[in-house]
């Protein structure tokens, strides 16, 4: 007989699908797999070995697809798979960032947490009465994790704008999965830039967003990174890289292997910066002329997603994927079978975490 801690170690190195199948092996295997300890161990194993990571893209309405990040290690032609959506969507939908394999989905009037790889979902109570009042106003969600008490939290920011699209104010609410309830917190004192509808760059228990301080709009410090610590529910700011130009530049925040990442696209150049977590300092990952990566005029959409095993950076570029070789400063396009049109990609861990 193999001791159960060895069984646990072997199972924690498997993808989600066979693990769920092996619940049928015996009662003891089933209770190992369903335990919180195993779910956490499997998640940690996937994060530390950078395995079980997928890229999910598309819309719920038209079909979501996923690609295993490891498949980019082997070839420049990868296979995509259909992702089963949890309900039939007839309305427009919104997907938040992913966090430990969970995604928040808003498909009005439903709001739910969803694990696309275990296909489990939980319908959440609706947020309190704050609703956007004009068509220019909007709501945004960020999903974060508090490792201290193993709780997931949703930050909801509702922005109110007038008919001229000028920002009036924002209201903020927080949902805790443990408490299964919403509460209002100190509101978000900045407008979220319209072009970057993302509140959810989640790195290490902190949500990040780029904001613009309108009182300083013509100074070099008007763009900031606002961070929200999920555990303490506190807000603070991070510095942009020094000397980074912010005028006539499109800035965006992303995440690259558990590190915060900043892309800057100007008329002439494309730069990618990565945050060194412990020192909170930026280092430049790549800096190339814009035409070298893509000759197309605006719009220009670029998103670093992952590293391949060979150290190349997987980048989403105008509806395609490229693998960028940093040492040779050259790149290759990746051919995706299945649904070739790629929109809104995000990296999601295949985990067993229960919503």
């Amino acid at each position: 007989m193999i001791p159960s801690d060895i069984i646990t170690e072997i199972l924690s190195r498997l993808p989600v699908k066979p693990i769920l199948r092996f619940r049928c092996v015996s009662k003891s295997w089933c209770s190992i797999i369903d335990s919180d300890d195993f779910i956490q161990r499997h998640l940690r194993q996937s994060i530390t070995t950078y395995s079980n990571h997928s890229i999910i893209y598309g819309y719920m309405l038209t079909g979501l697809r996923s690609i295993d990040v490891n498949s980019f290690d082997e070839s420049y032609a990868v296979q995509s798979h259909a992702v089963q959506t949890p309900v039939d969507f007839l309305t427009s939908d919104y997907m938040s960032n992913s966090c430990n394999g969970l995604i928040l989905v808003s498909a009005k009037p439903l709001l739910f947490l969803w694990n696309p790889f275990s296909r489990r979902k939980k319908i959440l109570p609706s947020a309190s009465t704050i609703e956007p009042t004009t068509e220019h106003s909007r709501e945004l969600y960020g999903l974060g994790y508090n490792s201290r008490n193993n709780d997931y939290k949703i930050i909801r920011v509702v922005e109110f704008r007038n008919a001229a699209q000028q920002w009036i104010n924002s209201k903020t609410e927080i949902y805790s999965l443990k408490l299964n309830s919403w509460k209002c917190v100190q509101s978000f004192p900045y407008p979220l830039p319209l072009s970057l509808g993302n509140l959810g760059i989640h790195v290490n228990g902190t949500l990040h967003a780029l904001v613009e301080d309108f009182s300083l709009v013509h100074s070099n410090t008007s763009i900031r990174i606002v961070c929200f610590s999920v555990e303490e529910e506190k807000r603070y700011e991070l510095m942009l890289p020094t000397y980074i130009p912010i005028e006539n530049v499109k800035l965006e925040l992303h995440m690259l292997r558990e590190s915060l990442c900043l892309t800057s696209i100007s008329k002439s150049r494309v730069d990618i910066w990565v945050m060194n977590g412990s020192e909170e300092s930026w280092s430049q990952l790549l800096s190339v002329s814009r035409t070298m990566i893509h000759p197309a005029p605006v719009p220009y959409s670029l998103m670093p997603l992952a590293y391949s095993n060979n150290g190349e950076v997987l980048i989403y570029l105008n509806a395609s994927f490229i693998l960028y070789d940093l040492s040779r400063n050259d790149f290759e396009f990746v051919v995706v079978s299945g649904l070739p049109m790629i929109v809104d990609p995000m990296v999601c861990i295949q985990s067993l975490v229960c919503p």
Partner: protein, 163 residues
Amino acid sequence: MSSSTELTEKKVFLLKSLDGVIFEVEESVAVQLEVIRELIEGDCARPFISLYNVTSEILALVIEYCKHHAETCSGGTSATIADEDLKTFDNEFMNVDENILLELCSAADYLDIKSLFELTCRTLASLIKDRTIIEVRKMFNVENDFSVVEEKAVRKEFAWAFK
């Protein structure tokens, strides 16, 4: 350097398997077994160590693995070549019967050899990834203690995972 340093005796340890076979290993190999390294560091290592949970067949393999890893790491080759060499060796080393693999995994756990434990766990995981429930039960010698009704119910919870 005088020739006397070359003559310094290499420390050896005698490891006795469950079935009484004695293996002589050098210190550089023995310290890869975390259990023995701890004994050495605590100055409690006797030259003769009995390993009650490991058969001679498995212990021979474990020593082969540790020897190769010790030699490659101290061989003075560049890190990338050593890395490649270890990868090739590990791949070939894992090319054994699956019962041996399971025993190697248990032995690596008992002797606390982290790299071998990781290697065997990963190999076993990829072996069972596409296997059926019945095949996995047989391989791990697990008795099915579900009733027919219970098993059907558990299966139904994630029926899609069987497709």
